[in-house]
Symmetry: C2
Subunit: 152 residues, 2 copies
């Protein structure tokens, strides 16, 4: 414990994972408040990506919490590589999804689409922003674990 803050099994990692899960859940909530999201591919992509981030980050937060409880990082052989690959794939997905959703929302807002009546698109902007912040935290986790990899 305490070797590299943010690496798997540390308090920093627990904070990052909880942040990812909370941001992904809030992005999903902002997105699902409007029932029309499924008419846009970019929004469906965002829902899918965030729907994958929530269970992934929650599971790893549980692993971190268990590591903190037993006061020793729980890292079975090979698990770090799996975590790195998972983080990498999910970070690419969430980056692509958040930028797509943001650019589609910006286009809808600028073209004064009737879909954007009643501040609907501000919710979608918030959802994209939350997804982007979730990507930032996922990317931090990835970098910390990647840094730890050669020493394991």
């Amino acid at each position: 414990m305490g070797e590299l803050p943010g690496a798997l099994g540390t308090t920093g990692s627990l904070g990052l994972r909880l942040g990812q899960a909370i941001l992904a859940v809030s992005s999903l909530l902002f997105m699902c408040m409007g029932v029309d999201f499924y008419s846009f591919t970019a929004y469906c992509f965002l829902i899918t990506a965030m729907g994958l981030v929530v269970p992934w980050s929650s599971t790893l937060a549980l692993v971190d919490a268990f590591s903190i409880c037993v006061k020793h990082p729980v890292r079975p052989p090979g698990i770090l590589s799996i975590v790195i690959v998972g983080d990498w794939v999910l970070s690419l997905l969430s980056l692509a999804a958040s930028t797509s959703a943001a650019s589609v929302t910006e286009l809808l807002l600028s073209s004064r689409d009737p879909f954007c009546m009643g501040n609907m698109c501000i919710r979608y902007q918030l959802a994209a922003a939350m997804a982007f912040l979730s990507w930032c935290l996922l990317f931090s986790s990835l970098l910390f674990n990647l840094w730890l990899l050669p020493s394991v």
Copy 2:
């Protein structure tokens, strides 16, 4: 030479860099055929990202070609880290730009926007596809160089 195909200074790397530069140039060409691209933020972002990939990949292709000519990989200390950071930043930018441009084009096509008259949007779809392929090659270069890093 020949230790890891695709790492800086090898024939594989030269191929990857040339591929990235050619795909980025073709994406720029497809995008600039229409003069109205600057009215969409996502298209301006794509132009910026591809405009950065072209000089970066061309320079590294020259380094690779020089390494192949002198039959020894040219890798001054610290240069590999700079190449990895540059590849990483550009790969994130090009992924975000290509997915944004693709989703905006898809929205314009599905809403039968007057902007898409005369197969204009098919060019933008092709530009986004070329940028995505360029991202695939950038990501391969990044992985090869990252794999090489601990052994340098």
